[in-house]
């Protein structure tokens, strides 16, 4: 059962990491769908 819990935690960790990495790489929806004339933050 430990392996099962570890896998669930890993899934959550991968999800958070993916969100962070994609955001940092410029794949956030607001960045992709805006132009240079738009100030996002």
């Amino acid at each position: 059962m430990k392996v099962m819990l570890l896998a669930f935690l890993s899934a959550a960790a991968i999800a958070v990491a993916a969100d962070f990495a994609l955001d940092r790489a410029g794949f956030s929806a607001q960045e992709v769908t805006s132009g240079p004339a738009v100030r996002l933050d």
Binding site: M4, L6, A7, F8, I14, A15, A18, F27, T33, G35
Partner: protein, 406 residues
């Protein structure tokens, strides 16, 4: 003149009139070959009604009617400021994607202002997709319930031996649960997004559904990566054990022993039923991952036009009556097809996994241990995977003839 005389005169005039207009009538009938002669080439009421009924119409007669700036009247002349393009022509150009649209956003396909196919997709998403998909899942649950009522829980017939044998190692179980855990969340959040408007908003209200939908979308988008990693891991560690062999035919012929007590067809590490589940997961998992990636990166990974070209080349769509599939698709059409396909595959996938979860848990005694602790009871192994048990333990073949799948 008597009344009779007056009638005769009118009849004569009418006859003369008809005779005189006969050539004209013929001209009109001849013109009827061009159905839009009466509207001067513009669309007719029939065209409009057919379009509103959602029928496919030949619009080639008007697609190109988008004005001609090159031959525009001079600015000082009458209507010169229109630049050779009337309002209907401008809207037509926008509708058929012919207008030179400039937008400040760098978003892909932002220049598409009007897209006809959007309504077809919306109707499909709100209609057949939800209805058939929803009923399909309900049907699967009903079949499992019926199976449970008729067959009951599949017990270890020889009783638990108290001794165990290692069935799945840590890496195998990790891969299984990484994929399974993320799949369950993906399935629930996917159904939430799909059925939110018709099922959840009436239940919770829009204010309560909004954060739920937002969180569900975040989980769906980001857990997809965990699912893909788990899928890759599972394929690597189990594909070698899932190649078909001669025992599979025997297993299938006996229905895996699922439907009768005391029947245990021999099986190696995976029986034919498990192999069907494995290959379904591989095919559906890869397909749903591809369409999912297409949806995750909107307009960046169009796949359907290329797929249709490859499919048309096989002649299969034409063979099954679908005709030649469109080989040129607009960016929004690609996204709509990706969403529709993603959901169709998801419904099939969820239905199969519901059956798998049932047989791997309450449906069969001792089955969950295989992916829980990794250790299964020796008697369970002998009954359900006799050939595998002999392989890993070197035990002499003393198994009963058969075993169902989990």
């Amino acid at each position: 003149m008597s009344v009779r005389g007056t009638r005769a005169l009118w009849a004569a005039i009418l006859a003369l009139g008809l005779a005189a207009t006969a050539p004209l009538a013929q001209t009109v009938e001849g013109g009827a070959e061009d159905p839009r002669a009466a509207t001067g080439g513009a669309q007719t009421l029939e065209d409009i009604l057919a379009r509103q009924r959602g029928e496919k119409i030949d619009d080639s007669f008007r697609r190109g009617e988008i004005g001609d700036p090159a031959s525009a009247a001079g600015l000082a002349e009458q209507l010169g400021t229109l630049g050779g393009v009337s309002d209907p022509e401008l809207w037509r150009a926008l509708r058929y994607g012919e207008a030179a649209v400039t937008v400040s956003t760098s978003a892909p396909a932002a220049g598409v202002v009007i897209q006809d196919g959007g309504m077809r997709w919306l109707k499909f998403r709100e209609g057949p997709l939800l209805i058939y998909g929803g009923y399909g899942l309900i049907a699967m649950i009903a079949v499992i319930l019926l199976f449970f009522l008729l067959r009951g829980r599949i017990r270890i017939e020889g009783g638990r031996s108290g001794q165990t044998v290692r069935r799945f190692g840590a890496v195998e179980r990790f891969g299984h649960w990484l994929m399974a855990g993320s799949f369950i969340v993906l399935a629930i959040t996917g159904l939430m997004i799909l059925f939110g408007r018709i099922a959840l908003i009436p239940l919770f209200g829009k204010e309560a559904y909004a954060p739920l939908a937002s969180a569900g979308k975040w989980a769906h988008n980001n857990l997809s990566w965990a699912f893909m990693v788990g899928l890759a891991l599972v394929i690597v560690v189990w594909i070698g054990h899932n190649l078909p062999n001669r025992h599979d035919l025997v297993w299938l012929a006996k229905g895996g022993g699922l439907f009768s007590k005391g029947v245990h067809p021999p099986a190696r590490k995976f029986n034919a039923g498990q192999k069907i589940v494995f290959w379904s997961v591989v095919v559906l998992g890869l397909s749903i991952s591809l369409s999912g990636l297409s949806l995750l990166f909107p307009f960046e990974l169009p796949m359907f036009a290329k797929t249709f070209v490859a499919l048309n080349a096989t002649g299969l769509p034409q063979l099954v009556g679908l005709g030649t599939l469109p080989e040129v698709l607009g960016p929004h059409q690609e996204m709509q097809l990706a969403q529709a396909w993603h959901a169709i595959v998801a419904f099939a996938f969820i239905a199969i996994i519901i059956a798998h979860i049932y047989l791997g848990s309450i449906g069969m005694e001792g089955a969950f241990d295989a992916v829980g602790s990794g250790e299964v009871d020796v008697q369970w192994a002998k009954e359900h995977h006799s050939l595998w048990y002999e392989e890993v333990t070197g035990a002499a073949p003393d198994h009963p003839p058969g075993a169902p799948a989990e």
